[in-house]
């Protein structure tokens, strides 16, 4: 396995980032006025902190993402060897996916994917 392409790629990436940051630093204009630091230079002054409390629902969604992401890893392993494993592999992967599909149906029914406010479903 030749790793030269990887090394070249790495060097290009680093150079690109350095070039972008460096060029904008060199070429960009600089000014330090009274309102430069505010979020909206010519708009309404923002009020309060940007750190608002977020609903725990975000966390639930992140959790589902992680869990289904793991599923993707397994399916990735199957996709690579889909020809070698043949129909038995297909059946196994279908069994795996079927259980997870049941999970998705459950999540849907229980309202965990529901974003409406005041929804009558039971999940926060």
């Amino acid at each position: 396995m030749h790793l030269w392409p990887l090394a070249v790629y790495l060097v290009i990436v680093v150079m690109l980032v350095v070039a972008m940051l460096g060029l904008s630093f060199v070429l960009g204009q600089r000014h330090h006025n009274r309102a430069t630091g505010t979020p909206y230079e010519s708009g309404i002054l923002s009020q309060g902190s940007a750190r608002v409390r977020l609903s725990a629902k975000f966390y639930l969604v992140a959790m589902f993402f992680v869990i289904f992401d793991l599923e993707a890893v397994f399916i990735f392993a199957w996709a690579i060897a889909v020809r070698e494993t043949g129909w038995t592999g297909y059946a196994e992967a279908m069994g795996f996916i079927a259980v997870l599909l049941a999970t998705l149906v459950y999540l849907w029914r229980v309202g965990a994917l529901d974003w409406r406010q005041g929804s009558r479903r039971v999940v926060a």
């Binding site: 259980v99 049941a102 999970t103 149906v105 459950y106 029914r109 229980v110 309202g111 009558r120 039971v122």
Partner: protein, 498 residues
């Protein structure tokens, strides 16, 4: 044929998924009790399927990943029976109006799948996945009483320490693979004598022991136990203090006698220390407890210690004694927690030993059952607890472990103190002026749960023969994988005459 080997697991998985899918379809106000009844039915079916497996020829399935033999069937029956009692105790004592009961029962069923797989797996990766399934479901069940801060605290503590322990176990598997190049138990046993890196194997043994020591709450890995038992709802404690522990003990037996018999001289002393420390620490700490659940938590630590005594005896007898002890322990423990979940209430409004004063005057039947379980925990003859201790200590003495046997006997004496303290409280008159808290009427399901566990405890104490025979058959299959040469030696049965 393959499917027959995992039939109980398949039944429970299908039932669990079905409950999970049906539950959100039910009207919000509808009672969730039918899902409970359905899970009881599924558990009975799984029990029957396990019993049927006994008639199958012992063998492996799915490319040598699971093994059906007398050992796995013994623990299958034990776990299914225990979970059945816990389910019966839970149906009526958990808040009847709750809408998340479907999930409660689905989690119990799926967790049981994990425990069953742990006992029949002969591939460490499958053992690990089974352990994770059973652990994750118990973490969540422990926090099911979400209004109570204690319950959530219990769940978080259990989760954090539990995942830490699982990581130890996983690391042990990885090092085992490093030493032997395989994760199959029989292959490990075969490859171990020729390994070029014995140090990896020794480290692996230590790490696996730490991980599973946590799961069976053996001291010094026990710190989570009292807090979690106190905070978790009592019906859940009835489950988590019994079935997952029995499964973890089965895994310990399988790994240490199946995979690591050739380095037994390196690990038996670890079990010696673990057993001595668990017995002593558990009993001494239990003496000072005021809360009934905390006391029983420390008592369960001590019982894990008694059970570990059997591991120091490297014989068929030792394995059989350990399996039999696990059976007696789950029978009496699930019973006493079933009583507590009714008397104490779902919110644990009766929790201290003084609260239990005069229970005999309020509910003589429940009190009688509780007294019987306490006597069995002490180890009085004609209860399962007696024979369990008897076999464990005789196995240890046979191996010449006099020191450990003496520590164990002294501990049994200490333990009698705190069990008797609760027992006398039950039968003494309630204190003057204290409000008499009414115990609600016992439901049929709870009565059935208590009846089942009490009769199991009684039968194990009076006619232990048939279950002991099965335990010995199981021990035989386990011993063969690790020690083909010695398996031919027939072990003389020394059950005392009644």
């Amino acid at each position: 044929m393959h499917l027959a080997c995992i039939l109980p697991e398949v039944i429970l998985t299908l039932a669990g998924v079905l409950i999970m899918l049906v539950d959100p379809l039910l009207p919000r106000t509808a009672s969730r009790k039918p899902t409970g009844w359905f899970s009881v039915l599924a558990m009975v079916a799984a029990f029957a399927a396990s019993a049927w497996q006994l008639h199958l020829a012992p063998g492996t399935a799915y490319y040598g990943v699971v093994q059906t033999d007398a050992f796995s069937v013994f623990f299958h029956l034990l776990i299914c029976g225990t979970v059945l009692v816990a389910l019966l105790a839970a149906i009526d004592s958990v808040r009847p109006e709750a809408h998340d009961m479907g999930e409660f029962f689905a989690l119990i069923l799926l967790g049981t799948v994990g425990m069953l797989l742990m006992t029949s797996a002969v591939e460490l990766l499958l053992v690990f996945i089974g352990l994770e399934i059973s652990s994750i479901s118990t973490y969540i069940l422990a926090g099911f009483r979400r209004r109570s801060g204690k319950s959530i605290e219990a769940s978080i503590k259990y989760f954090l320490l539990g995942s830490f322990a699982t990581a130890f176990f996983l690391y042990g598997i990885a090092l085992t693979f490093g030493a032997t190049g395989t994760t199959r138990i029989a292959a490990i046993a075969a490859a171990l004598p020729h390994t070029t890196t014995p140090i990896l194997a020794w480290t692996a043994v230590g790490l696996i022991l730490i991980g599973l020591g946590f799961k069976v709450s053996a001291a010094p890995f026990h710190v989570w136990t009292p807090d979690v038992y106190e905070g978790a709802p009592s019906p859940v404690v009835a489950l988590m203090s019994t079935a997952p522990k029995a499964a973890a003990f089965a895994v310990l037996l399988r790994i240490f006698y199946g995979a690591y018999p050739s380095i037994q001289q390196h690990w038996w002393s670890l079990f010696w220390v673990l057993a001595a420390v668990s017995m002593t620490l558990g009993n001494l700490a239990a003496l000072r407890q005021q809360s009934v659940k905390r006391m029983l938590a420390y008592s369960s630590i001590a019982h894990a210690g008694y059970l570990l005594v059997a591991f120091t005896s490297f014989s068929l007898q030792g394995i059989a004694a350990a399996s039999f002890y696990a059976l007696c322990y789950v029978a009496m423990n699930v019973g006493i927690f079933a009583v507590i979940s009714h008397v104490g209430g779902y919110d644990d409004h009766l929790w201290s030993i003084t609260d239990y004063r005069g229970l005999a005057y309020r509910s003589p039947v429940l009190c009688g059952a509780m007294a019987f379980f306490l006597l069995s925990l002490i180890g009085i003859p004609f209860t399962g607890g007696f024979f369990a201790k008897f076999y464990v200590f005789s196995a240890a003495l046979q191996q010449g472990m006099f020191g450990l046997a003496i520590i164990g006997l002294i501990n049994s004496g200490i333990a009698a103190f705190y069990y008797l303290r609760l027992l006398t409280a039950l039968y003494s008159k309630p204190a003057q002026g204290s409000p008499v808290l009414a115990v609600p009427r016992m439901s049929i399901t709870l009565g059935l749960a208590i009846l089942l566990s009490a009769s199991a405890t009684l039968l194990l104490g009076v006619v232990p023969r048939s279950s002991l025979d099965l335990a010995q058959r199981g021990a035989g299959t386990l011993f063969q994988t690790g020690h083909p040469a010695q398996a031919a030696v027939q072990v003389v049965n020394d059950a005392p005459s009644q």
